[in-house]
């Protein structure tokens, strides 16, 4: 597994001013319908942009399908589409999200992520410089996560029919031997651990969209978790019963989903939830609850209680797990429900939200 997952590798907002694009920008500074037409313009995009950025043996064949050698054993496969706005935000971009999101889905399934696909849906008129920056972010994220982007596709839709750039990625990984994790395997008594602070990604996006400014900028936690997860599984693989990355719907959705899949209850201690002060402030301002806010670089572990201390120590030794915390316990009581012990010492039920979290009137 890659050991080069330093926080420095988490991409920031790129500086377009210094960007030099390998494409003949003078001819086509923006995407035109022809870029998705399968003709010369499309080929130029592949040869001058995608190939140099993603270069690997499987991709270079430019066949109709990538031919891969995964070795023996079972594979895991996952796909996800990315439509985030804005395309670039503090701590990440749609490109970094597209790679890390699929890598993380594979990693929390107990697989070692290997290969990704990349499908782009571009809106006519989208600046090529931005596409190049997005592709570069995908390339550096893939390199950091130790995966290869081996096949792809580009389509162009007419102006007004898209939102600049949509990306779909699919990925395959090889399941680790001797690991049996799954959303239905959480057991009463398991410790619930989270790898770091909650709500960073969702509030980073919200604060850019709403123009909120705080003393310190909120950055997305967008990151590939396969290195962090590998460190845990290498040492405590047998003790890990379930993992999930709490993306949309946040921690509350993840815990409710696992509670239902495993037919167990969940009890969390609200004051123990790690939340950055600036994220808490932004949530207070908008009437949000951090337990429902999205994360893109966090993982929740359900581990045998005797191993909880060891797993926590492994997490905290990794740059992406410094703020890891034990936040609760799986229970045999109140099955399929998430109950939080509040700072007041009372209990409340935290249910799944019907739709997205909305700013409250009062």
């Amino acid at each position: 597994m890659p050991e080069n997952l330093e926080l420095d590798a988490v991409p920031g907002v790129p500086d377009f001013s210094g960007w030099s694009c390998p494409l003949p920008l003078a001819d086509y500074p923006n995407i035109v319908m022809g870029h998705g037409g399968g003709g010369r313009l499309g080929n130029e995009l592949v040869e001058h942009l995608f190939l140099p950025a993603f270069r690997n043996a499987a991709l270079e064949n430019l066949g109709d399908a990538a031919v891969l050698d995964l070795g023996a054993g079972r594979i895991a496969m996952s796909t996800d589409s990315f439509v985030v706005q804005p395309l670039f935000f503090p701590g990440g971009s749609i490109g970094a999200l597209a790679v890390n999101g699929t890598v993380n889905d594979l990693a929390v399934s107990g697989a070692v992520p290997k290969f990704l696909t990349a499908g782009f849906i571009l809106e006519e008129g989208f600046p090529l410089s931005q596409l190049a920056a997005i592709v570069q972010e995908m390339a550096s994220s893939a390199a950091a996560a130790g995966v290869q982007i081996v096949t792809g596709d580009t389509k162009v839709v007419e102006r007004g029919h898209g939102d600049g750039c949509y990306i779909n990625t699919a990925g395959v990984g090889v399941l680790r031997e001797g690991i049996s994790v799954g959303p239905h395997r959480a057991q009463p008594g398991d410790a619930i651990l989270v790898s770091g602070t909650l709500g960073d990604h969702g509030m980073a996006i919200m604060s850019v969209r709403e123009g909120l400014e705080f003393e310190s900028q909120i950055r997305s936690d967008c990151a590939a978790l396969n290195g962090l997860i590998a460190n845990v599984l290498d040492v405590c693989g047998q003790a890990v019963h379930a993992m999930r990355d709490p993306t949309r719907g946040g921690l509350a959705s993840t815990l409710n989903e696992i509670a239902q899949a495993s037919d167990v209850g969940m009890m969390i201690d609200e004051p123990s939830l790690p939340v950055r002060p600036e994220v808490q402030s932004a949530c207070e301002l908008l009437g949000f609850d951090p337990v429902y806010v999205a994360n893109e670089g966090k993982v929740v572990f359900f581990v045998a209680p005797e191993a909880a201390g060891d797993v926590l120590a492994i997490l905290r030794a990794h740059p992406l797990g410094r703020d890891a915390a034990r936040i609760g316990t799986v229970t045999a009581e109140h099955k399929r429900m998430l109950v939080a012990r509040t700072a007041m010492g009372a209990n409340r039920v935290i249910s799944i939200q019907i739709g997205e979290q909305l700013p409250r009137i009062c």
Binding site: Q280, V339, M344, A346
Partner: protein, 375 residues
């Protein structure tokens, strides 16, 4: 995070809760008027810290809940029209009208936008002179000053493409309606701190006298709420009925006078229908004659929209504490959070929604015993 942690101190909260348990000798029903207070009570579990018999009744102070079906239908009709940019606070988008909600209108191509301030809607009107920008002006006295300011600014700037769909409601008439309704069980009120930060609390002493009820101006943080409850119980136990200010760091007796002056200029008192309760006389605001040109109901000619609330809904009885949600014949059948009939099922903090979401899974005893398994 000053001003947050100091009003969320768990140990102090336990101390106040202990004091409340010590001074409570009889069962009491106290209503918190405001939806924000209900939210905080449920989020922090304050209702479970109270002694058995001391019951918090969740009042009609959630603007999302009490906006009548007919007005939601009018909003949907306006937002569906081409050339309209319909602006609203976020949580109104999910409130169902007769056929759909604003989310669905947006999905069908309506230009529906979430704004954080009505002044953002005025800006949109300036930037989009070819669009009719309509702001959904709902809420209590709390949101009223900003809403009034937006109309005031629009008039001053001579904007012809800005209007407001107004459904403003007022707290004091709602308290009077609840107290004078037959079978009322509410014995004390926590008045909403942010409403009083605008209006002061000079309106409340006559109500406390007339109905012989304690009214405590209360804030929203856990310690604010516990202190408000403690003061209300003390008055009830001593047979007193005064207006007390437990939110002195924000609220003065007179309130925000410039805001009140603006409100008096832009709005005038009117009868208003409350979802699940019915019409309460002189319980809301509409635009005053000087600002009537900005009334979206006039501009879009919606007088033909007449919506009747479901006769099955007993939200009014729930709000008065006469019945528990599960005692309503529509509860969990015709009425659920996905298809709410009345105010109390609309918002997640409404009494019926809270019972539906939590009560069907778990009893209070179970919830308490869950504490034994805490992390």
């Amino acid at each position: 995070m000053k001003y947050l942690t100091e009003f969320r101190d768990g140990e102090v909260a336990q101390r106040i809760a202990r004091e409340i348990r010590q001074i409570t000798t009889k069962p009491w029903k106290i209503m918190e008027v405001c939806g924000g207070q209900t939210h905080s009570i449920i989020k922090n579990g304050i209702d479970q810290m109270l002694p058995p018999g001391l019951e918090m009744v969740h009042g009609p102070g959630c603007p999302v809940c009490v906006t009548p079906l007919e007005l939601i239908d009018k909003a949907l009709a306006i937002a569906s029209q081409p050339g309209v940019m319909f602006c609203s606070f976020g949580d109104m988008l999910r409130v169902p009208g007769t056929e759909c909600d604003l989310f669905q209108v947006k999905g069908r191509g309506g230009d529906v936008r979430v704004v954080y301030s009505p002044l953002d809607a005025v800006d949109l009107a300036v930037k989009n002179p070819d669009k009719q920008v309509v702001f959904f002006g709902v809420g209590f006295e709390t949101t009223a000053p900003a809403n009034a300011m937006s109309v005031h600014v629009a008039k001053r700037r001579g904007l012809k493409n800005f209007s407001m769909l107004v459904s403003h409601v007022l707290v004091p008439p709602a308290i009077e309606a609840i107290m004078s309704s037959p079978g009322n069980q509410v014995q004390a009120f926590l008045a909403a701190g942010h409403v009083c930060s605008v209006m002061g609390y000079w309106e409340y002493p006559p109500i406390a006298d007339k109905y012989e009820i304690p009214i405590v101006v209360t804030g929203f943080e856990p310690l604010d709420l516990l202190d408000g409850i403690r003061r209300a119980v003390l008055q009830l136990e001593h047979g007193e009925h005064r207006v007390e200010n437990a939110y002195e760091r924000i609220v003065t007796y007179a309130g925000n006078l410039p805001a009140q002056k603006l409100l008096a200029e832009v709005f005038e008192i009117t009868d208003r229908a409350w979802r699940g309760i019915g019409v309460i006389p002189r319980s809301g605001w509409r635009l005053s004659p000087a600002y009537r040109d900005f009334d979206a109901e006039e501009r879009f000619q919606l007088s033909n929209i007449r919506t009747v609330e479901s006769p099955l809904c007993r939200a009014g009885d729930v709000l008065r504490g006469v019945i528990k949600p599960a005692q309503c014949s529509a509860f969990g059948k015709e009425c659920s959070p996905r298809h709410p009939l009345g105010a109390t099922m609309v918002s997640s903090e409404g009494a019926c929604a809270a019972y539906f979401n939590y009560g069907r899974f778990i009893s209070a005893d179970q919830l308490a015993s869950a504490g034994a398994a805490r992390a």
